[in-house]
C-alpha cells in the first residue's frame, strides 16, 4: 500500500484527471443550503467535507435506487430491464457512508442490478476532520478516517497553509481500481512519514468525539436481551411509521415490488413492468400475510426489529460488523424520538439500573 501514496496540493488536478473517464459527482450546497450529491463536471474548489456538510441522503441510491425497473412481460416472455449505467466517480465520500456501501456490497453480493451499478462507480473517500453533529462513527468502528478496504482512493488533508490558502493532500490508492484510475497522472510520491501523520490526525479527531459510551452499553444490553419488552412498547409509541429513518439509513435495504401496466400502441397489447421500491420494516403491513396473521403487528416489535437489525451480534458472521455505521441521520430525521441517540440513551438509562 505504501507504494501507492501520493501528495497533491491542488485537488482540482485529480478532479480533472478523473473527469476524463468518469462523470464526477460531488457534494454541493443548493440555494436552500441543502447538501446533495450532484454531478459537477469542472469543479475546481476543494470538495465539501462530510463532517461539516453531512448530506441528508447517503450515496445509497446510486447503487440501490428508490425505484428501479426489474423486468417486463410482453404477454409472452419476461425480459430483464438492465440498469443503464455510466462510469461515475463519487468524489469525497466520508468514512461512515463508505462503510455502509461495503456493508451493502456484501448484502447485495448476488443482486445483478446492484452489482451492475456498483461496478461502474469509483469511490473516492475523504477523511473527516472533526466529529459531525449527530455522528458517532468512532464508537461503531466506521470512521472518522476512511477504512482503506472501503474506498478506491482516499483523500486526507495533511496541512493547511492559511497564509497562501493552500492545502497538502495525501492520496492513497487503496484498491486496484484506484491504482488504475491514477494511471497517466504524474504525482509526487508520499512517504511513510506522511502516512503516519494521517494516522495521528485521525487519532486527534477521534479524541474530539463526545462520550458515546451509552451507545456501546445499549448494544450490550440489546445483545444480552436485557431490554424489557415494556421499554420497546414505550419507545414505539413515538414511532409514526413515517419511514424517514429507513429511507435515510445508508444500510437499510428492504424493498417491495409493484407493477406498472403500459399499453403498447404498435401491437395493441399490454406490457407489464415490475418495479422495486424502498420499503420499511416499520410499516404495519410490512409482514402482514394473506391469512391476516401479522408476525410484527405491534409497533414495539417493529421498533425492536429495526434496532436488532442494526446492532445484533447475530449478523456478525455474515457482515463482520454491526449494521449501524454511526451517521446519525435517523436521529436527525425522526419526528418522534426513536432516532439512534434517543433510543440508545433511554435503553442505557433503563437497563443500567
Amino acid at each position: 500500500m505504501l507504494n501507492d501514496i501520493y501528495l497533491l496540493k491542488d485537488l482540482s488536478i485529480l478532479n480533472a484527471h478523473l473527469a476524463q473517464h468518469y462523470s464526477v459527482v460531488r457534494l454541493a450546497k443548493d440555494t436552500d443550503g441543502e447538501v446533495t450529491w450532484t454531478e459537477q463536471a469542472g469543479a475546481t474548489s476543494a470538495p465539501l467535507f462530510g463532517h461539516a456538510n453531512l448530506p441528508l441522503t447517503s450515496p445509497k441510491a446510486f447503487f440501490f435506487p428508490e425505484q428501479e425497473s426489474l423486468y417486463k412481460f410482453d404477454g409472452k416472455t419476461f425480459e430483464t430491464i438492465h440498469p443503464k449505467v455510466k462510469p461515475i466517480v463519487l468524489f469525497g465520500v466520508q468514512a461512515c457512508d463508505l462503510t455502509a456501501i461495503a456493508y451493502q456490497d456484501q448484502f447485495f453480493k448476488h443482486d445483478p442490478y446492484y452489482q451492475t451499478r456498483r461496478d461502474s462507480v469509483l469511490l473516492v473517500g475523504i477523511d473527516c476532520e472533526a466529529p459531525c453533529k449527530n455522528g458517532f462513527c468512532a464508537e461503531v468502528n466506521a470512521g472518522p478516517h476512511v477504512n482503506s478496504a472501503t474506498a478506491d482512493l482516499i483523500l486526507s488533508r495533511l496541512k493547511i497553509d492559511d497564509r497562501t490558502n493552500t492545502s497538502e493532500w495525501l492520496i492513497v490508492a487503496s484498491s486496484e481500481k484506484g491504482v488504475d484510475s491514477l494511471r497517466d497522472l504524474t504525482l509526487e510520491k508520499a512517504d511513510e512519514g506522511h502516512f503516519k501523520l494521517r494516522t495521528k490526525l485521525g487519532d486527534q479527531v477521534r479524541s474530539q468525539f463526545a462520550d458515546f459510551s451509552y451507545i456501546s452499553n445499549a448494544i450490550e444490553y440489546l445483545n444480552d436481551k436485557s431490554i424489557p419488552a415494556q421499554l420497546w412498547e414505550e419507545l414505539s409509541v413515538r414511532c409514526l411509521s413515517c419511514s424517514g429513518c429507513t429511507n435515510l439509513c445508508p444500510t437499510c435495504s428492504c424493498y417491495s415490488t409493484f407493477e406498472v401496466i403500459e399499453a403498447e400502441p404498435i401491437s395493441n397489447t399490454l406490457e407489464f413492468e415490475t418495479v422495486r421500491c424502498w420499503d420499511s420494516c416499520l410499516f404495519e403491513s410490512f409482514q402482514r400475510e394473506a391469512s391476516d396473521h401479522n408476525p410484527s403487528h405491534k409497533a414495539a416489535q417493529r421498533v425492536e426489529r429495526f434496532w436488532f437489525h442494526k446492532f445484533s451480534d447475530e449478523y456478525l458472521p455474515e457482515f463482520e460488523r454491526h449494521g449501524c455505521v454511526g451517521c446519525g441521520r435517523c436521529e436527525q430525521t425522526c419526528p418522534g424520538t426513536i432516532g439512534v441517540h434517543s433510543v440508545m440513551k433511554r435503553i442505557d438509562e433503563v437497563c443500567c439500573n
Binding site: 426489474l70 423486468y71 412481460f73 404477454g75 409472452k76 416472455t77 419476461f78 425480459e79 430483464t80 447485495f108 448476488h110 443482486d111 445483478p112 442490478y113 452489482q115 436481551k225 431490554i227 424489557p228 419488552a229 420497546w232 412498547e233 435495504s253 428492504c254 424493498y255 417491495s256 415490488t257 409493484f258 407493477e259 401496466i261 399490454l270 407489464f272 415490475t274 422495486r276 420499503d279 420494516c281 410490512f286 409482514q287 402482514r288 400475510e289 394473506a290 391469512s291 391476516d292 396473521h293 408476525p295 410484527s296 403487528h297 405491534k298 414495539a300 416489535q301 425492536e304 426489529r305 436488532f308 437489525h309 445484533s312 447475530e314 449478523y315
Partner: protein
Amino acid sequence: MLQLTPQTIRIVDFYDDGTDSRHFTFEPIGFALESPIAIGQFFMLTVPSRGLAPFTYTSFPDEQGRFNALIRKVGKLTDQLFTCKKGDLLGYNGPYGNGWPLAEINQKEVLIVAGGCGLAPVTTAIDYLIDQGRANSVTLLYASRDQESQVLKQERERWQSKINVYETLDIQGDKDHSGLPTEHLSAVLNKVDHHPDILLTCGPEAMMSNVAKMCVDLGFKSTDIWMSIERRMRCGVGLCGHCYIGSTYACKQGPTYRYDEFLALEKANTVAHLYPQYFQYC
C-alpha cells in the same frame, strides 16, 4: 448472480379443490425446471399485473417438467390467478428455500399435522415416503374448518389405503372428528402402531405452535419437530427483507425450521409474538 427475472410457465390445467382453492398444473416454456426439487421447497409465481407470491409444489416435475400447486384465493394476486384460463402464461422463479429434513425422516416414524392449505407443503413429503416403501411409517392428522374447505381430495383418497390418515373438522363432524387438531392429537397417537418420533407440521402458526408444544409434552424431542413457516415474501431470495424471522430470512434459511431453532430465533426479541386466539387456516 441471482436471476430475479421470472421464466415463463403455462397453465396446463386446473380443477376446483376445496373452498376457493384450485389445483393447478403448470408447464415450463422454453426452459428446463431445475431438478430434483427437494420436498417442501417453494417457488415464486408471477401473475402479470399483480406481482409475485410464494407457493409450494404439490408434485415433483414429470418428464415434461409439469408440476402442480394447490392455491387458495385470498387476495390481489390469487384473485387475478383465478380469472386465468388454460393456456395463460405466468412467471416462475425457483426452486427456493430449504425443505423437510430428508435424512431424519428417512429413519424415523413420521407424524404430520397439517392445517388448511398447510397440507400443500407436506404433499411431496408423503408421496416421497410412500415411494420409498415407508407408507407404514406415516401418520397424517389433517385439520380443516369444515368439509368444504378440505383441499387435495384426490391425494387424500390415494393416501387413504396406504398411510394412516385422520381428519378433523373445526365446526363439523362427529365427536371423533370435530374440533381443533390439538384436541385429537393424543388420541391419534394412541391409535397408531408405530409410535411417531418426528413431527412435520404446516398450517397457521398458532396451530403449529400449539401442536409443537403438545408434542414436546408427549415426549418428542424439540430437535425432531419441524415446521414450515409462512411469511410474506417479495423476492424469495433473501433480498427484500419481508420474510425475516430473527436474523434469518424464511425464504433462504427456511421456510422449514427446527422447533428449537425457531424458538431461539423468536427469543432474540423481547416483545412477544402474539398469535390470534383462533387459528385461521389459509
